[in-house]
């Protein structure tokens, strides 16, 4: 079994027009900048991007928004200091936006990856974000029914990987990467170091079964 792919370009080649793409990262940690750049070069459009943030300045997801490759954004915190390209596209009505509370976003992706049909969460009950959703009160506490959220692809960033697709992370750069690996049909990881030896099975965070390809990209953000 060898999931190694030579270049970032080869890694993103399976992504086609209109695909849904989960992109790991929070703030500037754990974002697969290399894979995003490769997707930019490839020029694939009509994408649904599922991510916590919607990019800031001219980096990461902001580049895809600037280039007009994004049709839809599903995220918890699209607006942040410097998220000019998101704001421009949103104000011009050029992208659809679904705002999901952050924990619900993670849990919906997990439900997809774990084969569940949905779940009840107290998050958002009684708020705008629950409007139109099925709700239920159990023992006096209100819950909202949330659906699984799957994607065609996930773009991930990890510290180390091996040829089986096992991944481990550094510091606070795990964030959404492990759960997105589970929730996408085809998960692509860029890793700072692609190890020749298998990773220590005790310290693997994302088992390779959740990862379809892995490529080395040593550059740190």
């Amino acid at each position: 079994m060898d999931k190694r792919v030579k270049t970032l370009r080869d890694a993103v080649a399976p992504i086609t027009e209109g695909a849904s793409v989960m992109i790991g990262g929070f703030g500037s940690s754990g974002i697969p900048f290399g894979l995003i750049d490769a997707l930019l070069d490839q020029g694939t459009g009509g994408l649904t991007v599922i991510s916590n943030n919607a990019g800031a300045g001219e980096t990461g997801i902001a580049k895809l928004l600037k280039a007009g490759q994004v049709a839809r954004v599903i995220c918890s915190y699209p607006r942040s200091p410097g998220s000019i390209w998101f704001e421009r596209r949103y104000e011009a009505g050029e992208i659809a936006l679904e705002v999901v509370p952050q924990g619900t976003l993670a849990e919906r992706i997990r439900a997809a990856g774990a084969g569940l049909g949905g779940f009840l969460t107290p998050t958002g009950y009684g708020t705008l974000l629950a409007e139109g959703k099925e709700t239920r009160v159990i023992d006096g506490k209100g819950y909202v029914f949330e659906h699984p959220l799957r994607a065609d692809f996930a773009l991930l960033r990890a510290a180390r990987g091996d040829r089986w697709g096992n991944l481990s992370f550094h510091g606070t750069a795990r964030n959404f990467n492990p759960v997105m690996a589970m929730g996408a049909a085809h998960s692509i990881a860029e890793v700072r170091v692609l190890s020749d030896a298998p990773l220590d099975p005790e310290t693997v965070v994302t088992p390779g079964i959740f990862v379809q390809s892995v490529t080395e990209y040593g550059v740190r953000p």
Binding site: M1, G113, A114, D162, R163, W164, M182, P198, P201, F210
Partner: protein, 211 residues
């Protein structure tokens, strides 16, 4: 009739496991499949108790009580293995990440219904384990069992009579007498154990075998 022994049956199942597959082997006979996968194929074995990349049984004296598989056999790790806890383990099963599961069965019906966790003997308390999670999540379910019960009665049936594990979940059945696929039309013959005659096998099968 020619009846495959356990080792030959395990080898027959192993032939149908492709290179690169993620496979869960059920408790009991299915455990032996891993010893028969043809050379040159790298198959990665998942065990529900929290490992992917199950390696061979350790040499005597080198057993680690905290390195076991779902059958409680002592194991080692294969290259590329990972350990994890139960929710992640069952996410792999339920979420469709494992390619093939090989399970034993009491009964299989021609519509793919599987009964492998409880009989109609009420003296035994029920024990389901992870079988129900496997069958709903893993896209390819292989069943590996004797063709008949000890009393000669058929285990391949038009309808299961024992409590079900899952509905319409079985894809292929490997028995000591034959290999059969479950199709929209019912059981369809894949191959007979060499030397057997279809009519003889049909006679000990509780549903029509299509060819």
């Amino acid at each position: 009739m020619r009846r495959l022994g356990d080792a030959d049956l395990a080898a027959r199942v192993a032939r149908d496991i492709p290179d690169g597959a993620y496979v869960n082997l059920g408790i009991g006979k299915p455990t032996h499949v891993s010893g028969h996968v043809p050379e040159g194929r790298e198959v990665i074995y998942h065990s529900e108790n929290g490992i992917i990349g199950v390696g061979p049984v350790p040499p005597e004296g080198q057993e680690d009580p905290e390195m076991i598989d779902a059958s409680k056999r002592f194991i080692t790790v294969a290259p590329g293995a990972a350990f994890f806890e139960h929710c992640d383990s069952f996410a792999m099963m339920r979420g469709g990440h494992i390619d093939i599961a090989v399970l034993g069965a009491y009964q299989v019906a021609q519509n793919g219904d599987l009964a492998n966790w409880a009989t109609d003997d009420e003296r035994y308390p029920p024990a389901v384990g992870g079988a129900m999670d496997l069958v709903v999540g893993v896209p390819t379910i292989f069943v590996m069992m004797r063709h008949q019960n000890r009393d000669g009665s058929p285990k391949l049936l038009e309808r299961c009579t024992f409590p079900l594990t899952g509905l319409g979940v079985v894809n292929r059945v490997f028995t000591d007498l034959a290999v059969l696929d479950v199709t929209p039309d019912g059981f369809r013959l894949v191959d007979l154990t060499p030397g057997n005659d279809l009519a003889d096998v049909q006679a000990v099968t509780g549903a029509t075998i299509h060819t």
